[in-house]
Symmetry: C2
Subunit: 365 residues, 2 copies
């Protein structure tokens, strides 16, 4: 076994999920994540945690959904009982074919998802963590050789998370104290307000309200957005390619939009409901181990020197008690590169210039 | 997909497990049983049953057990809650390496098994069915080419179960009405009593109290066994080869034993407890699709023209209300071939001679 798989498992169990003796752990194993699952099982045994593994297979899901009449039972009691009693759910992502469910009927997919809402919520109520085992299919999606992709995944995942958490704490403090954010890039001049909102120091650990490994971002819930933003990072949204999306905001709402590619998807997203016309998240990528875009949101949005904004639902963790943020059925992240000439300002002070934070080497004041 | 996989899945879901709309089904997927799992998911969707898949991996189990200190929690509540609410558990066997857990410490294995007794019982309380997807590892264990092994598995599994159930009903009637069984083979002259005991028509369906696919046997719970029996079918018991076991019974109890190979395993089994010195099962194989021994008890004991006897625990289904049969921590099947010169008699009447039942072509009265 690649030593990095074992290290990945240790990081997941120890740093991210904070597993302790007697914890009831569900290991949700994707088709291609077997090797990581073995390494995680070893870690769980070592800690005296309990282990139940589920099999997450897109091929099974497709076969089940394609043959089902679409009248799904609401969150079946046996599955709900499992997750309601679980302490942690560890999602080991590892697709063998990212297009496997491409032909599943959209209505069926939505009906299935809607019927399972209580199960999903029960899972989110646990100390859940989602992580990625490198598979050939993911390498292909990234346009990379498998060996290179493995290097990429482990460079992004096996970080000094404690050090990054400390660095991110600086940015969290600035955002928590700040009111007005000004974002400037080639094609972007955007103003957002974050007063009273709480920034999350997303350091790849449930101890930091962070449920992704890798993580490495600080995010908050903006409001009253105004101006123009261009997202130059290409993405796949609902199986369709999206490129150079431009959004224009007025009084916190999208009033105009276009895209060089995939504009129809963007239109669908924006027109979902009231909340999908507003931003739910302003996220600032701080993971310098993510050094390229690989068409996988788990990595892309964490990339150091990028900023992402999400249309739709805000995270509760960003909202003070009693305050409500953007509510929507969607949460769609879009990413922009903070390249040469870019600026991120909070209350008039430059926090990042040309993609370099003011506490980093090479920052030009 | 091999059409036979789809047919296997249909047989499992329809004939064996009798799955209906709304049933809460746990699909327990072995590492090598993915293809069958996809076909079963299709069948479950078609019937509107609910589906949760667990991942049964010997590699995970080994990693977990090897790193655990051996102090296991008794049947963790989250897993117990799942099985207590499930209607059916479908075990899709499909090992990728039958020796995977060979080096796991015996004490750890037993402690794990003991701690999980309530979970095991909850599973046995469902309409559970265990079946076998053909893998290369199982072909290897059988000493067969993979293509031949697949043919073997499907010949044994894709039977006309309704017809076999009818044929088996004849034997069940004979055994239910009978009192004294006399078994004669080369090396065997054994008398067993079955008065008051209930024979199970094991026709690969929960509707017949049968939880194996394939099945194809009629079994009951004998007592007061006397005489000698030789088991000429080689087996693997607890990872060790066993060959030509000879047992001598007096007043229902083993008084002498030997084996050409693996005698120490047989000794361990017999000396487990009081019940392990007695027989818990007399089973008569009636599946003519099983045409050879493949070192897999799921198939071997069902082979038409064989009889098996189990040391240890009797099945409740064979005991009239209020009567108790052999009780033991073990249930170890041993098999003898009903070859030329063999006889199976019930109350002095020959039911099978030279391996041919009296209702079959070629029977010599």
């Amino acid at each position: 076994m690649d030593d990095r798989i074992r290290e990945h498992a240790r990081t997941l169990v120890e740093w991210s999920a904070r597993i302790e003796a007697g914890d009831d752990v569900v290991l949700a194993v994707d088709e291609g994540a077997h090797d990581l699952a073995v390494a995680v099982a070893e870690q769980l045994g070592e800690r005296g945690a309990n282990l139940l593994s589920t099999y997450q297979s897109d091929e099974l899901t497709r076969a089940y959904l394609d043959s089902h009449d679409g009248e799904f039972e609401e969150s079946p009691a046996y599955e709900l009982a499992l997750y309601e009693r679980a302490d942690s759910v560890l999602f080991l992502k590892g697709s063998r074919n990212t297009a496997e469910t491409a032909d599943v009927d959209g209505d069926t997919r939505r009906a299935y998802s809607t019927a399972r809402q209580a199960i999903r919520e029960a899972r989110l109520d646990t100390d859940w963590v989602s992580t990625q085992h490198p598979t050939r299919a993911m390498a292909q999606q990234a346009g990379m050789a498998y060996a290179d992709y493995r290097d990429f995944v482990y460079d992004a995942t096996l970080r000094d998370w404690e050090a990054l958490a400390e660095e991110q704490a600086r940015l969290k403090e600035i955002l928590d104290d700040g009111d007005k954010v000004h974002l400037v890039t080639d094609g972007t001049d955007l103003t957002l307000f974050i007063g009273d909102r709480i920034a999350v120091n997303s350091a790849a650990s449930v101890a930091y309200d962070s449920h992704n490994l890798p993580s490495g971002e600080v995010f908050t819930a903006p409001y009253d957005t105004a101006g123009v933003v261009t997202f130059d990072v290409p993405m796949t949204i609902q199986g369709r390619r999206v490129k150079n999306v431009e959004l224009t905001f007025k009084d916190g709402v999208v009033v105009d939009w276009s895209a060089e590619q995939g504009e129809s998807v963007i239109t669908e997203v924006i027109e979902t409901d009231g909340g999908s016309r507003q931003l739910g998240e302003l996220g600032i990528g701080m993971n310098r181990g993510v050094d390229r875009i690989t068409d996988n949101i788990l990595f892309d949005e964490k990339m150091g020197g990028t900023v992402h904004l999400a249309l739709g639902r805000a995270y509760d963790a960003c909202l003070p008690e009693g305050q409500s943020g953007t509510d929507s059925a969607v949460h769609e992240d879009l990413i922009t590169t903070m390249g040469d000439g870019s600026r991120l300002e909070v209350d008039g002070e430059v926090v990042q210039r040309d993609g370099v934070f003011r506490w980093e080497d090479g920052f030009e004041a």
